[in-house]
């Protein structure tokens, strides 16, 4: 790119001012004329048959506009990504499947009244025993959460490569262990919220906090039989998503309330409702086995993943599949047999969460690698290096990939950044442990063949005054995509950032861009936008060439002008050129459509290394993260401020996952239903020394060589912390979160042996 390009600069986020000054209007800030408020009536029982719903008392309350049950719904009344089996409302005679199931909804003139009317809806239940663990749900004779899912199996994935039996037979050392990970909550600040209304033409407008306007439109169409041409979804600024808003959340309910009540309706879940409602990170149990030669060469891996899918399918098949695929990590393993199952239960729902199943796999893999290293008497880092994928090797993974392998460069960088390992003070009861782990987090490169939902469009328009509008249907979740796209446009047109306006997340104004997940927007949407920009640039160049009498090839976009490369004084101002095109009838609005080749690999890989130094007080179990470093091969760092922000953020979520977070359920009920019980890291839990760095090995098909990085930092950061703690105390750890009590228990246990 041109010297002085805005790409690669830490320019300020385009949405920073609005958010910092409080001007940004989130869904919950909206007010529409005659706006009413909705309230959902949730099932208090994870599993119960709905015998009767009596709405009469609620209906009779003054100010209550409408009370809605399943019998009021048109359409199938069901929705859901991939498998549309989730009821909008559980009907009389049907069974609830978890405490996030809704049995009725109320529309009233005020939030308070809606809330009181919801409490006045009387539901009679026949309470039934729930299934609260995958083991229980897999047992012979267990009742079926879904009649069409024998064994309560939501999904099953299997992968084999080489000959795993022969691989283990040739192994001189075999290690095996089982790892357990908890349910992690996205803990976004903004709960599910939105406003919906139906206009005089019958169009349903839903303005809501979401990650996938197109998926939401699909679900509303499916559930309520509203024609697709009459569904308008507008994503509002998102106060955190992390995957928790990837599935349709409240939008079908909102649309149904608005249509049936005939008034604009606002619905904002409170924290407790939000926590029980949306799908979280799958609680997962992984049995993993590795076989190696004495020199550390890994010959075989066998793995079995069992994930609690919760009550509905949603993203489970994709997430659980990725857990299985990610077990291999960035290592050469010739013989592999892995299997993964997602199992339906009546617990809280499981689905997408930053990392998408890979963090669980990394905990098992990196934990077992340390165990193997101990068995072999090798340094853990050395064992990893001996098995790194090499630049010329293809991963033996079902996801494959075509990213240049840069593991050795990452290893060098992380070793340098970690420096010498600190020593505890003489006489202290503290011990310091260190771990360095590696991973190859994936990002979607636009060719998921089984889903066929891979095309990404973006539109750019140059206005007659030289201003630029970008229409991109991805969603700004705080990751910074709006700013990245503005940087692209500013760079390509030679304009300042202020000249670019980016409109996002709207299924009417923006070409289809699909979901905001899988760290895919910079790659997919970025490429689509570059195609659109290039088309407009060509029109502009043609007009400029004619006007200036210079060959097109001689012209460039720079500093608000189109100018001659050899004689910069021969130029036309960008705004003047735009006006000229307008006057001459040139089309300056183009759509770019990016679709990777059908046979392309599913994923690119953002290779990463994480390092941690952790002090553990053997006397009290106190854990102190002295240093946490993440180094990612980002291909090209498009905006260092935002890129490192992403890494820090992901690393903090990984730290919470390692040390404190656990959305506990008992008998299908939430035991940590609010932020009073569900602990996430605060500012003072941040490591004393916190490092985020990048290296840049250009990704050939990425925009400017860039890769997706949104999720990456979460992947192997958790096992790095876990392994560092284990290193400090000299005891293996196989479950998270690890708190003081677990340290003390592990030390006691070891003393007894």
């Amino acid at each position: 790119m041109a010297i002085g390009s805005i790409v690669g600069k830490g320019v300020a986020r385009v949405d920073a001012r609005g958010k910092v000054t409080g001007q940004t209007k989130y869904a919950g800030d909206m007010r529409l004329p005659n706006m009413h408020h909705g309230k959902l009536v949730f099932s208090p029982h994870p599993r119960a048959r709905v015998l009767a719903i009596d709405c009469s008392a609620a209906v009779a309350m003054a100010g209550v506009k409408r009370v809605i049950t399943a019998r009021d719904l048109t359409g199938s009344g069901r929705y859901g990504y991939d498998v549309a089996h989730r009821p909008v409302l559980v009907a009389e005679g049907e069974e609830t499947r978890y405490i996030g199931d809704v049995v009725a909804m109320v529309v009233a003139v005020s939030e308070e009244l809606a809330s009181r009317a919801a409490q006045a809806v009387v539901v009679r239940y026949e309470v039934l025993p729930p299934l609260t663990s995958p083991r229980q749900a897999m047992a012979e004779g267990a009742y079926l959460v879904h009649a069409d899912a024998p064994g309560n199996r939501c999904c099953k994935r299997e992968f084999s490569h080489g000959d795993v039996v022969a691989g283990f037979a040739r192994s001189e050392v075999v290690v095996e262990h089982t790892y357990k990970t908890p349910r992690q909550e996205q803990a976004f600040l903004e709960t599910e919220s939105g406003v919906a209304y139906q206009d005089e033409a019958g169009v349903v407008h839903v303005l809501s906090s979401l990650q996938d306007p197109y998926g939401v439109a699909e679900d509303i169409h499916l559930a309520l039989a509203i024609p697709k041409s009459r569904i308008h979804i507008k994503g509002t600024p998102v106060g955190g998503g992390f995957g928790g808003k990837l599935n349709t959340t409240i939008q079908v309910h909102l649309a149904a309330m608005a249509c049936l009540a005939g008034v604009p309706v606002m619905l904002v879940l409170d924290r407790e409702e939000s926590f029980i409602f949306h799908a979280k990170r799958h609680p997962t149990e992984i049995r993993l086995k590795l076989g190696a030669k004495r020199d550390g060469t890994i010959l075989a891996m066998e793995g079995e993943v069992i994930s609690d899918a919760g009550p509905y399918s949603g993203r489970s098949p994709e997430v659980v599949g990725l857990t299985m695929s990610a077990l291999l990590g960035p290592y050469r393993i010739a013989n592999v047999a892995t299997r993964a199952q997602g199992i339906y239960t009546n617990n809280l729902d499981s689905g997408a969460f930053r990392g998408f199943g890979a963090p669980q796999a990394a905990i098992a893999r990196e934990g077992l690698l340390d165990k193997l290293a101990r068995e072999l008497g090798l340094e853990p880092l050395e064992l990893r290096r001996r098995n790194f994928l090499q630049p010329d090797s293809r991963p033996a993974s079902p996801m494959l990939g075509d990213s240049p392998v840069s593991l050795e460069a990452l290893a060098e960088k992380i070793i340098a950044r970690m420096g010498p390992k600190p020593e505890p003070a003489v006489g202290s009861s503290k011990r310091i442990g260190r771990s360095i782990c590696f991973d190859m987090p994936v990002f979607d490169v636009g060719a998921i063949p089984t889903l066929g939902k891979s095309g990404v469009g973006a539109t750019v328009e140059v206005h007659s005054d030289g201003g630029v509008s970008v229409y991109a249907g991805g969603t700004e979740l705080g990751q910074g995509i709006t700013t990245v796209l503005a940087q692209f446009a500013a760079d390509q047109f030679g304009l300042p950032m202020e000249a670019i306006r980016v409109e996002m997340s709207d299924n009417w104004t923006c070409p289809r861009a699909g979901r905001t997940s899988a760290s895919r927007l910079t790659f997919g949407l970025g490429n689509a936008l570059l195609l659109a920009i290039e088309a407009v640039r060509q029109t502009l160049l043609t007009r400029a060439a004619t006007t200036l009498g210079i060959a097109r090839e001689e012209l460039r976009f720079v500093a608000g002008q189109v100018q001659s490369c050899s004689a910069p004084e021969r130029a036309i101002a960008f705004a003047e050129l735009a006006q000229l095109c307008w006057d001459k009838g040139d089309n300056l609005r183009e759509e770019g459509w990016f679709r990777a080749a059908e046979d392309r690999y599913m994923y690119g890989h953002t290779f990463m290394a994480a390092g941690a130094d952790v002090a553990v007080d053997l006397a009290t179990g106190e854990i102190e993260v002295l240093k946490l470093a993440n180094v990612l091969d980002m291909g090209k760092v498009l905006n260092p401020v935002m890129a490192y922000g992403q890494i820090y953020g992901g690393a903090v979520q990984a730290l919470g996952y390692a040390l404190m977070e656990n959305m506990v359920t008992k008998d299908g009920l939430a035991k940590t239903p609010s932020f009073a019980e569900y602990a996430i890291p605060t500012a003072v839990d941040i490591p004393f020394e916190f490092v985020a760095e990048g290296i840049e090995t250009p990704y050939p098909t990425g925009p400017f060589g860039a890769k997706g990085i949104g999720e990456a930092a979460l992947n192997c950061t958790t096992p790095t912390l876990l392994n560092a703690i284990a290193d400090a105390i000299g005891v293996e750890l196989d479950a998270i979160p690890v708190a003081q009590e677990h340290i003390l228990a592990a030390i006691h246990q070891q003393k007894r042996i």
Binding site: T620, G621, T682, V684, Q740, L744, A745, H748
Partner: protein
């Protein structure tokens, strides 16, 4: 939330009169940090709120008649800022500092923290370890009660109908007395206690332990004193063996439950480990005795 009436009595007399005529329908609002949450969740629905947050009779911190007297409506932030508390009850200041975040500490009151009667109440271990007493006012006039007798169980106190906790009285510490407060949470700030503990100790001239007081939070239905450990230590030398044995006793005499924050067994291990650390620091001849609550 059910609609309610709000009154702000100007004097103690007005409050008592108001409570009398409310006939048990009223609730006291001091900081509101517990009450408001319970009302929002529908766990409490008082028809009438008496705002006592600025009630002058419950807003003082004074040293008088051999006690440090702290008004029930003194906030946690005020406890942290008070030179009197820093000098006479440093572990109470540390407990206040350990609570939640600045916004909550600016509202939450000492009295509220006590009468909510949570086993995990942050201030109570420091108060119990100081042998604090409660000054209560009610229809029958004033009465005084040991704090340990005021707290009956989770959410239960010995306050009668129309009674109000007015002040907390801490006997002044003897010379050479040292006190400490520790809190173990799932994170370093804004954490509900997994366990908490406070201790006070004085060494006699012969180097033996004169008095020892250990209070444990979140490991029994109320905050409790570790009496067996205390008795074991009194009159003994602060030897490594003795401190470890006392800590083990504390671990045995508590009765923790398993909840989302920790297991019962884990809490016992923590009580033993942190009591040991507490005693070691209290008996340390050098170094400062400023408490730490950084678990």
């Amino acid at each position: 939330m059910i609609p309610f009436d709000y009154l702000k009595p100007a004097t103690l007399e007005d409050l008592l009169e108001g409570l009398r005529s409310a006939n048990g329908e009223g609730a006291l609002l001091a900081g509101g940090t517990d009450l408001h949450v319970k009302m929002r969740l529908g766990l409490k629905s008082p028809r009438l709120l008496f705002d006592i947050s600025e009630l002058a009779a419950a807003r003082n911190i004074v040293e008088a008649e051999g006690s440090l007297r702290i008004g029930a409506c003194v906030t946690m932030s005020e406890l942290m800022a008070s030179p009197l508390v820093a000098r006479l009850a440093p572990s109470l200041a540390e407990a206040a500092r350990s609570m939640s975040c600045r916004q909550i500490r600016n509202r939450a009151t000492l009295g509220g923290n006590i009468v909510t009667a949570s086993p995990a109440a942050d201030s109570v271990p420091a108060l119990l370890a100081a042998d604090a007493r409660a000054l209560i006012v009610g229809p029958g006039g004033l009465r005084e009660l040991a704090l340990a007798e005021l707290l009956l169980g989770p959410g239960r106190t010995a306050l009668g109908p129309g009674e109000v906790l007015l002040e907390v009285l801490l006997p002044l510490p003897e010379a050479g007395h040292r006190s400490l407060y520790f809190k173990v949470g799932r994170r370093r700030a804004q954490a509900i206690s997994v366990i908490s503990l406070a201790g006070g100790l004085s060494l006699a001239a012969d180097g033996r332990i004169g008095s020892a007081r250990i209070a444990l939070g979140a490991v029994a239905p109320t905050v409790m004193r570790a009496r067996q450990a205390e008795r074991f230590l009194e009159g003994e030398l602060p030897s490594a063996v003795n401190l470890a044995a006392a800590a083990a006793l504390a671990g045995e005499e508590c009765s923790p439950i398993t909840d989302v924050r920790a297991s019962g067994a884990g809490r016992r291990l923590l009580v033993e480990a942190w009591t040991h650390r507490l005693l070691q620091q209290l008996c340390a001849t050098s170094g400062d005795d400023a408490g730490g609550n950084r678990p």
